[in-house]
């Protein structure tokens, strides 16, 4: 089974169609070691699928995020980027050098629980970006 098999299975199980475009984009997301922009994903996927178009990439990413297989990353200046929905985590980002540190969700869980209790909202898997200045940049 291909590496994106688990994800395409979820697609069909939930009544969505498994297309080469979705397969390829999932494949790329699965092998990414960072957040990818739609442009990066298009460039990569286009090698395998020469007829692929940008609107399809944008729509596919939005769709995958909607159904929870991918998630959007909020970096500075609301440039969008995506990653596969794996383990829950968040990010600490340096405003000067853009260095990122990953924060396991467990660190944020308590706060989420409090917010749920106080507001009645049911939180979904969030993917937060905290901005600050990293230790290195604080010195200079």
């Amino acid at each position: 089974m291909t590496c994106e098999g688990n994800f395409t299975k979820k697609l069909s199980e939930r009544g969505y169609r498994v297309t080469p475009q979705r397969r390829e984009i999932l494949h790329i997301l699965l092998h990414a070691d960072a957040h990818l922009t739609p442009a990066e994903i298009f460039e990569e996927a286009h090698k395998k699928l020469p007829n692929l178009t940008e609107p399809t990439v944008y729509r596919t990413l939005e769709f995958l995020a909607e159904i929870g297989l991918a998630q959007e990353a909020y970096s500075e200046k609301s440039k969008s980027a995506y990653e596969i929905s794996g383990y829950a985590h968040h990010h600490l980002i340096c405003r000067k050098c853009a260095k990122e540190v990953e924060i396991p969700h467990v660190k944020v869980e308590g706060l989420c629980q409090n917010l749920e209790d106080e507001t009645g909202f049911k939180l979904m898997q969030n993917h937060l970006s905290f901005f600050g200045i990293c230790p290195d940049c604080q010195e200079n």
Copy 2:
């Protein structure tokens, strides 16, 4: 003194120029009771400044955010929006009906302190968006 006086003063103090465009955009942000998109701000500011152009609005908002007088709001699908930098707060947003609940920063302060202690990052005033499903939408 006009209502945006405090903010324009900060501009000159820090060596930035006070222009009618910046003045007007600050004025609009100060009187907004919600996050405003660049388009909304342009439309409003354009009434007073007929020569104003979109690039100036985008650049001004980015600039104000950079120097801390405004802040960007991350809503769904990374549509950008801005508000004046006033009291620190965050948002809880319903993914179904888009209803927003404001969260005072004090609720998040403990977590921020922990993150600072553990990572050595110095956090800046963040403006977080937590997504979830509101009580009303949970019923339906």
